[in-house]
């Protein structure tokens, strides 16, 4: 890739912002309610208005202030779950995932929304994270860079889960581009004003970037530090009851993204013993002590950090788009 080469990408006319995918992650719930209220008052004055869909993903879970009713909605978006056979007695979230897929997708089709931003909170001390399935989606990476520059006081990281499109399971995978915006620490069932404000400003900056992009702005290239998830570590558990037998060590608690070296403390058992990290390489921990992950068998996740070069990008002009069509006519098939 040449340094001066500008990559031209299709316009992003339709963006979806989703809150309440987990009903007790309240910054997103309250932010979406506010945005939905404001949407009714505002009128678009732009030449080419951006279509922003505001979605409350899991209304039943929101009403009960729970993560989910039957099953975790944010694991229901694999192709298999979206397209397989379904009965009337299917879990609520499976039915809901199909509704959302019809609204924002279908996943993998040309008519899916261009960008999905799914709002989440975590009990872990992660600051603001964009979580995506790709480390080469220039749209997502440029949005991240823009947020970093616009919000320098907020600790911000880009997390990459190396999962294929077929296996991708979360709501943000329904759009042509997508990411989760994860902000913590915030207890579930609570809204903290600083966390809410960070999310509000993050979403605003994200939408601003899309407008700039659509109007032809060139975004210069550079580099982004990407944290690629390698593995999870579960709590030590009792053989019979499966109850946890240790807590995250006090020296690890709240130290998300501080490098963890072999032999560093991981857990403290209830009898006071320190259990240490036995891996071979230093890695970066995150989602340390996320409440919802106890039942998923995850005490913390570990990532490798690498520097990714991103090219300069701008929106494709109409001519370039037509030229592209002629070269690849099969892309236009419905």
């Amino acid at each position: 890739m040449e340094v001066d080469e500008v990559v031209c990408l299709p316009r992003l006319p339709r963006v979806a912002v989703c809150g309440g995918t987990h009903g007790n992650e309240l910054s997103g719930v309250y932010l979406m309610r506010e945005l939905l209220k404001m949407e009714k008052k505002e009128t678009e004055k732009e030449e080419e208005p951006l279509s922003v869909l505001m979605v409350l993903s899991n209304p039943r879970a929101m009403l009960q202030c729970r993560r989910y009713v039957d099953t975790d909605l944010n694991r229901c978006f694999t192709h298999a779950t979206l397209n397989g056979p379904i009965s009337d007695a299917a879990p609520y979230e499976i039915i809901r995932s199909r509704e959302l897929n019809a609204m924002l997708g279908p996943k993998g089709s040309p008519v899916a929304v261009d960008l999905v931003c799914d709002l989440h909170n975590t009990t872990a001390n992660m600051g603001l994270c964009l979580i995506a399935y790709s480390d080469c989606d220039w749209i997502c990476l440029h949005i991240f860079r823009h947020l970093q520059r616009q919000m320098p006081d907020i600790p911000m990281r880009y997390i990459h889960f190396d999962v294929s499109n077929k296996e991708s399971y979360s709501l943000d995978s329904v759009g042509k581009h997508g990411f989760a915006m994860e902000i913590g620490p915030q207890p579930h069932g609570v809204v903290r004003s600083n966390i809410y404000t960070a999310m509000k400003v993050g979403v605003q900056n994200m939408l601003d970037w899309v407008r700039f992009f659509n109007s032809g702005t060139i975004f210069e290239g550079g580099f982004v530090d990407v944290f690629s998830m390698i593995k999870h570590i579960d709590y030590p558990r009792d053989g019979e009851t499966r109850n946890i037998t240790a807590a995250i060590h006090p020296q690890l608690q709240d130290r998300d993204f501080c490098q963890l070296h072999p032999e560093d403390p991981l857990f403290q058992t209830f009898s006071g013993e320190t259990l240490r990290y036995k891996g071979n390489e230093p890695l970066y921990p995150f989602f340390i002590n996320e409440c919802a992950y106890y039942e998923k068998g995850i005490a913390l996740s570990l990532a490798r950090k690498r520097r990714v070069m991103i090219p300069a990008i701008r929106v494709q002009t109409e001519q370039e788009k037509q030229a592209n069509k002629q070269e690849y006519p099969s892309e236009e098939e419905e």
Binding site: R192, T197, Y294
Partner: protein
């Protein structure tokens, strides 16, 4: 000091430690499960100390409660109600607990019950007192505070005629609430867990010393007396329209003066405290209290006086 100011109490022979009154408050759940398996740590000479999970169904689901809040369920109405399995789970459970550790108000009731709780509020270690005239409890709390120093352990007094509620621990002659935060629901933080463990150690030490005949001289105990419950600002439909202000968030026990920022609306406006004097807010932004219409409670500082006590 005249001898008339000395209060005599029977030895505290039967003590219970309740965990899981709210099934997602993990320090208590974890400690009680530990001690049910191996009670060596909580043994004291001459005391029977029983660790007990009060709401096992809620613990299993890692939720605060199943049908209704167990820690509000110990009203005389509930405790004397009939209706068997038709009653809400927690009402049935309250009756069972009253049978084992009570009956509430009778001579057969347990001497002391420690009820272990966590909060999402930044309250640190807090001991909750239900009566300003319980000299035994006052002396215990004084002992714990001194033992923990320079660490902090504050005393919250809830004797308010309207805001006081019927707790699971109220079955005992001397109910003691332990509230440690901040900790998210469903999460176990090592430092919070250890802090609770240390408080209980000192509490049991006090009971052992008392039972051995030690006399505890008169003392004063700084306490925060519950004054008022403040709800979130809401719209006509009952929806919350503002959050705890960033200046107030995490400032439990710090003075809140008239005119100080209290809430911040979702579009950034500040709502200020309009009370007549300085108060000390606590339970600021406790997750479980959104549904109870409480953003925080205000308290007033008070010095309580405890008579000297010794065993009968």
């Amino acid at each position: 000091m005249s001898y008339n100011n000395s209060a005599c109490f029977n030895e505290a022979r039967r003590v219970a430690i309740f965990g899981g009154t709210h099934g997602n408050e993990m320090s208590g759940v974890t400690l009680v499960n530990l001690w049910v398996k191996n009670s060596a740590e909580i043994q004291r000479k001459g005391v029977e100390t029983k660790p007990f999970i009060t709401n096992p169904k809620a613990v299993e689901k890692c939720t605060r409660y199943v049908d209704t809040d167990l820690n509000r369920a110990f009203t005389s109405e509930n405790l004397s109600a009939s209706g068997g399995d038709d009653q809400p789970y927690e009402v049935q459970r309250a009756q069972e607990i009253n049978g084992i550790f009570g009956p509430k108000g009778s001579p057969e009731a347990y001497d002391v019950i420690f009820d272990l709780h966590n909060t999402t509020s930044n309250m640190g270690c807090t001991l909750i007192l239900e009566s300003s005239k319980d000299h035994f409890n006052l002396q215990m709390m004084n002992y714990i505070k001194k033992a923990i120093a320079p660490g902090s352990c504050l005393v919250l007094l809830n004797e308010h005629p309207l805001l006081k509620y019927s707790t699971s621990r109220s079955v005992a002659k001397h109910p003691v609430g332990l509230e440690v935060g901040p900790q998210p629901q469903g999460v176990l933080r090592s430092n919070i867990f250890e802090a609770m463990r240390v408080i209980l150690k000192h509490a049991l030490d006090f009971i052992e010393l008392f039972n051995e005949g030690m006399e505890f001289p008169p003392c004063t105990v700084e306490a925060f007396r519950v004054s008022e419950r403040i709800d979130y600002p809401r719209d006509a439909n009952g929806n919350i329209i503002a959050m705890v202000h960033p200046n107030l968030q995490d400032c439990d026990w710090e003075p809140l003066n008239p005119g100080d920022p209290m809430f911040q609306t979702f579009d950034g406006k500040t709502i200020r405290y309009q009370g007549s004097g300085t108060v000390y807010p606590t339970f600021i932004n406790e997750a479980a209290y959104y549904e109870k219409q409480q953003a925080f409670v205000t308290t007033r500082r008070e010095t309580l006086v405890a008579s000297s006590i010794r065993k009968a």
